[in-house]
């Protein structure tokens, strides 16, 4: 019995990106939900535009839609499949990677993703209106969570599982920084007391969007400050979406790949993870929450991109020269070079 069957580099790459894009779908749904809740009466456009800004989509959005309009922004992220940062586009990439991985993933994983894909590529404009939007966001989140659960319960845990988890965790850490960052772009009233109350509500909603409100309540002081929220989302050791916990898990998976499967190429990635750990540990949340959080998160996002890059360089990127624009000649209609959709250029937030 072959205990450690080899894993094709291409499969490792697809596992990583399938998981990343699925996690991205879930978090985009969370961001949409929090934006919907934050929508300040009379200033809806500004509220929704925060979503565009934290995804660094200002340029591509204005090219398509011109001025910021809430409905256009909702369509941009929930319906327009040709916008590469939309939910339908992300689920398409996830499914394309899953198609590549069909020899490897469980039938149940494929079936769920296949059905979820059918549902997400058929979102109707009416579902973006009023309270239907909140229900839609809920359904999207639940769809990814079903996928995550099926993966947990059915996916064979050889090295392929570690690559899948690495993709999921890096994306989750990145998305938590974006969720925090949304606060930077939100509007608050000028009057002092009113401002304090609005801010508390907003922080509470950020926590809710990250599914961390109740856990935070259990461990935070009754009179919590913004710094407590920032510290919780960045450094808490038990909260599943904190950057710190994601990092712990990332290191665990990298170490398993190094020790159990002898993949020495994990060295550089482990070093980067260590740097990120130091970065979070040194974060002065008190000072950050008073200003400078945006710049800090920007740094953190860049560090995560660097970490993903080390994994890619060691295990899948550049393992064979890739010539973009080179047409593939198929032996029958439809034989095309599979798009390397996974290798989307990562942008900094």
């Amino acid at each position: 019995m072959n205990l450690a069957p080899p894993l094709l580099a291409r499969y490792a790459e697809s596992l990583f990106w399938m998981a990343r894009y699925l996690e991205r779908v879930e978090n985009l749904a969370r961001l949409i939900e929090v934006t919907y809740i934050f929508e300040s009466p009379g200033r809806e456009s500004e509220s929704w535009y925060a979503l565009v800004r934290i995804n660094a989509d200002e340029e591509s959005f204005s090219r398509r839609h011109g001025a910021a309009d809430p409905d256009a922004i909702k369509r941009f992220y929930l319906i327009e499949a040709d916008n590469p940062t939309s939910i339908p586009a992300a689920i398409e990439v996830a499914r394309t990677n899953a198609r590549v991985l069909r020899p490897l993933i469980s039938t149940e994983m494929w079936k769920q993703l296949n059905q979820f894909h059918h549902a997400l590529t058929a979102i109707a404009p009416a579902e973006l209106e009023g309270d239907a939007l909140s229900r839609l966001a809920d359904r999207i989140r639940a769809g990814v969570q079903a996928q995550t659960g099926i993966t947990e319960g059915t996916f064979f845990r050889d090295q392929s599982w570690h690559f899948l988890e690495l993709g999921r965790l890096i994306e989750r850490a990145d998305q938590t920084t974006r969720l925090l960052d949304i606060k930077f772009h939100l509007l608050v009233p000028r009057a002092r007391e009113e401002r304090r109350l609005v801010e508390l509500t907003q922080w509470g909603s950020v926590l809710r969007a990250a599914a961390g409100y109740h856990a935070f309540r259990r461990i935070a002081p009754v009179e919590f400050t913004p710094a407590d929220v920032v510290a919780f989302l960045l450094t808490d050791a038990s909260f599943p979406r904190s950057v710190r916990l994601c990092l712990d898990e990332i290191e665990r998976h990298l170490t398993a790949l190094r020790i159990r499967y002898g993949l020495g190429g994990t060295r550089a990635a482990l070093e980067r993870a260590e740097e990120i750990r130091a970065l979070i540990a040194g974060a002065e949340t008190e000072r950050l929450s008073a200003g400078g959080l945006h710049a800090f998160l920007d740094n953190l996002q860049h560090a995560l991109i660097g970490l993903a890059g080390e994994i890619g360089t060691a295990f899948f990127r550049d393992w064979r020269p890739y010539a973009p624009g080179q047409e593939q000649v198929g032996q029958e209609q439809g034989d095309r070079e599979p798009a390397r959709q996974g290798q989307r250029q990562e942008q900094a937030g």
């Binding site: 580099a9 296949n114 198929g330």
Partner: protein, 496 residues
Amino acid sequence: MDVPAEDPFQGYDAGSFYCELAAGREGDGGAAATIRSRIAALGLATLRSRARAAETDLFNLGITFTVYSEANAIDRILPFDCIPRLITAAEWSELDRGVRQRVAALNAFLEDIYHARHILKDGVVPVDLVLGNANYRREMEDFPVPFGTYVHIAGIDIVRDERGAFRVLEDNARTPSGVSYVVENRHLMLRAFPDLMAGMRIAPVDDYGQRLRAALSEIAPAEVLDPQVVLLSPGIYNSAYFEHVFLAREMGVPLVEGRDLLVEDDRVFMLTTAGLRPVHTIYRRIGDDFLDPTLFRPDSLLGVPGLIGAWRHGHVALANAVGTGVADDKAIYAYMPRIIRYYFGEDAILPNVETHICREPAGLQYTLDHLAELVVKPVGESGGYGITIGPRASSAELERTRAALLADPANWISQPMVGLSVGPTLCEEGIRARHLDLRPFAVTGRESWVLPGGLTRVALRHGSLIVNSSQGGGSKDTWVLTGEFQSGALAHGVIR
């Protein structure tokens, strides 16, 4: 409330065609009658709702082939008909022997033409038909392959005529597809129609993957103890990608694309997370032309540069071998009965459909004289294209065909119109007779093994004889009976 259900077979009429579900068929032990009465008991409505659910299942499980229109990739299922066909044990024994004989003849022929060429020197097959054939590969000359096996995976297309006699319609010796549907259709029947199968003794089909892997291991370079087998696919955009996934999974081997492989020092490696790992046998689902851009089409990105060199050095095995296409085209098909007699001194167990070779003056004359009664086929096409069905053609079409025949007789063969057998099939208007064919699959390493049954394709359009999936064909589960029906017993042929 007991309303007598309408007999779903009302309106079913096989006419002059052979039907395997006809009552009182010899050797079926009453199985056909049992199936018909069970279907009647289920009723048309239940049958339809279960069939719909089964097809939804196929779609959700992604058991699909992909059709490309201008910009869209559309996943389609191969339409599935839930009424199975029945092959008796005696019939299967004949088919099994016949298919193995056919595959042995294909291999003997390939071995001969790429070495001593006795059959050409003896004038049994015209020299130009072989050496001038676009699928003839010089690279194969004097290159020995293990056990003399060139065609490791073969699909032989077989029909039944009005009397029920089996006849070979076509050989597929390159990269025949469809075997995944055989296994998946059985899974589907077991899920959706366990009550239809109860007590039936049916040969199981689920060991195809193991048999295939065993054969592929047999042909690996002899010095390798635990050969690494891979399946080489053009990738996710190929219309048969599901089948590639299915076979890789059933065999438990990696599904690779050309870009996963590289050749160094005439050895083949695959790129893994742990670096390069040697590969010993490649089951390739890519045509000869695309295998190695350094030798064949230089613009192919599907293949692996240097692959043929590695093969010729004996460091890797390829299944099927390169150059098998010369044996399975329609031009050579016509000579198969003579080829079998030449090598084995015996008649074909499964005869061809009577075939007139238009390159031979007598064949051409006969074809021209009986154009309106014959099916005329170009020898180079596949997938049911370019065929003229005489009895159904207009006089203008017949004249065009006559002109084409006279312009290039060697490009054509003709056959009488065979009254293909029919099977009861669930249609819009009820259960109706539709024409069938059968593609058994043979796996050959040291020896041949034939998967019991095979892919039954059904022409879903009324009166249509064309069963190809690209032209409106569907499929059915094929039951090979292995013993007497046992009432009260559980279904046999259950997937282990």
